[in-house]
Amino acid sequence: MISNSELVKKYFRYNKKFPHIWCPGCGIGTILGSMLRAIDDLELEKDDIAFVSGIGCTGRAPVYVDFNTLHTTHGRALPFATGLKLARPELKVIVATGDGDSTAIGGNHLIHACRRNIDITTIIFNNYIYGMTGGQYSPTTPHGDKAYTCKLGNIERPFNISALVEAAGATFVGRSTSYHTLQLKNIIKRAIQHKGFSVVEVITHCPTTYGRINRKGGAVEMLEWQKEVAVDREKAAKMSPEELEGKIVTGILLERELPEFCEQYDTIIEKAQSLDKG
């Protein structure tokens, strides 16, 4: 596997003004690292990758890496990516989006991208909070947990992102954590190779906001928690509902083959041209 220094040299933008904006201990960089390793394993050309994001701490990821990078508006990464993919079907389009970006303001776009089964890989960085704006509750903040807009405890019930995208029609769903970097890399690899709309939900930590207000400790403690609650899918299949209480099932949760949007559109073009409605 590619070494850290080689990874940095090969994929980071040397002419970008570092340092990055993330807090010490933040999980976002780790996930980005797994993504880069997946891309490296697949030997994809940098020119052939479009990396698209929305707004949030997660949304800042593209600026640092040497691909075709597009940092869009809050919640809208998927429709931007949809237009780009249709214009350039040969590009591998990867979207990085936060839990708020993808399931609150961008929730509508998420379910429709799933339903269309357009060949885009979406990595959802789920830190259970609006990190960038300082820790307000998001659609994935657990019931009862605190955030800076629910200091007495969240009374809303959270989305289960993986279940949501499966129901909406995604044809590949994977879940991992920022602790399980190797598993994460392998899932991202499979997601990129998958033809159709693929979602990788990554459980991660925001020690600065969610961690602090919920007294979850620092980055190390939060990573240890990820290690403890994650149960691989195969192992989970043998566990009882009681044993699975409070656990997070990881691995490739779903993989199915359905017609992909751009390919179907190509058949529309063929039909239209044979009818010659030009």
């Binding site: 990078t69 597009l70 940092h71 508006t73 429709p79 949809t82 237009g83 214009a87 350039r88 559109y265």
Partner: protein, 380 residues
């Protein structure tokens, strides 16, 4: 692909779709809304046969996002909508202004605010088209006054968007959108097509926002081998976010400078019977039709009246007025709003002539007779 010239009876909305195709538009994303829906339907039908693509998005926020994405992928992109959808597009319209992404929005206005009067004519979005998105930003807005002009203005809009790397809005009203008229359609090879300037330097030397002498930077498409960053944050010449005051100034001032440089080319204005005019009607969109008819009758009655027809609303073609101000006693501005262009006319006039507005916001149009009455009242 149209190879021979032809004459066709069509609606304004059809003419917009025809113009888009003739201009080389090969991507449309939209969400249906009265009174613009025909444009989406026609392009859904016609684009694939021409090798282009159409997608119906989940809403107008997604529609404009998708055309921005496609434009970054190298497509000539367009969407069509009306008031409620245009409101939803505003945030990403600002993105396209700042990231300098060419695109065209056709807004067939309806009565507003809110759901308003979906099938009634209005010109209520003039100011929204200028200032709808937040922050200081440049914008180009064209307003056709006939079916045939809709065809030509849509082509012009696509070409200006490509040339200036800026969103262009075709601001139509329901009268023009649904009016039927015979249109002369040129063969496509006869249509002027402007393509954005692409970089020709090696990728290592490419700075996506480094302006050339034209004021515009060459634009590579994603996938062309020029890897670069596009963001809605204020950025430096490399496209990377910056908070440096000098770089921020260069970024934002540069947006305006490129449009100022093209001001004369962008401003479409026609003058009718203005040489000896002492009174001018300033009109755009469907109000030109009433104004023209009023003008004919007033001239027949021996009054020295002329028409200044604004084809471009933004940037506001102030020279069109300034040129005639010394000879004008009265300027009459009929609008299907409460005076959105009137205020611009006031500003440019700076006390020279007397300015009279005629306004209507009840879903009906201002008739030639009403304009005649106003003009006669002023002359007396």
């Amino acid at each position: 692909m149209r190879k021979k010239p032809s004459y066709q009876l069509m609606q304004g909305n059809e003419a917009a779709a025809e113009g888009a195709l003739a201009a080389g538009v090969n991507f449309f994303a939209g969400y249906p809304i009265t009174p613009s829906t025909e444009i989406a339907e026609i392009l859904a039908d016609r684009l694939p046969a021409n090798g282009g693509k159409f997608i119906q998005m989940e809403d107008e926020i997604g529609s404009i996002a998708a055309i921005i994405g496609a434009s970054i992928g190298g497509c000539k992109s367009l969407t069509a909508t009306s008031g409620p959808g245009f409101s939803l597009m505003q945030e990403n319209l600002g993105f396209a202004c700042l990231a300098e992404v060419p695109l065209v929005i056709v807004n067939v206005m309806r009565g507003g605010p809110s759901t308003g009067m979906p099938t009634s004519p209005s010109q209520g979005d003039v100011m929204q088209s200028r200032w709808g998105t937040h922050g200081d930003h440049p914008i180009i807005v064209l307003s056709p006054a006939s079916v045939e002009e809709t065809f030509h203005y849509t082509i012009k809009a696509v070409n200006l968007a490509e040339k200036y790397r800026n969103p262009v809005i075709v601001l139509m009203d329901e009268v023009i959108g649904h009016m039927r008229a015979r249109v002369s359609l040129p063969p496509w090879p006869m249509v002027e097509r402007v393509n954005r300037v692409k970089p020709n330097m090696p990728p290592e030397w490419y700075n996506p926002y480094e302006r050339q002498a034209s004021g515009v930077a060459p634009m590579a498409a994603f996938g062309d081998g020029y890897r670069y960053h596009v963001t809605g944050l204020v950025h430096d010449a490399k496209g990377f976010p910056t908070a440096n005051p000098n770089e921020a100034r260069d970024n934002l001032r540069g947006l305006f400078a490129k449009i100022e440089r093209g001001f004369r080319e962008i401003c479409l204005v026609d003058y009718e019977e203005m040489e000896d005019a002492e009174h001018a009607i300033v009109a755009y969109g469907c109000m030109v039709l009433s104004a023209r008819s009023a003008l004919e009758q007033l001239r027949e009655a021996g009054h020295r009246v002329g028409l200044i027809k604004l084809g471009t609303l933004w940037p506001f073609p102030r020279f069109a007025l300034e040129r005639y101000l010394p000879q004008l006693k009265n300027i009459i501005v009929p609008e299907l709003n409460l005076g959105q262009v009137y205020r611009e006319v006031l500003r440019v006039n700076a006390g020279h002539a007397n300015i009279e507005k005629i306004n209507r916001i009840n879903g009906t149009i201002i008739t030639p007779e009403e304009i005649i009455k106003t003009v006669k009242g002023l002359i007396r």
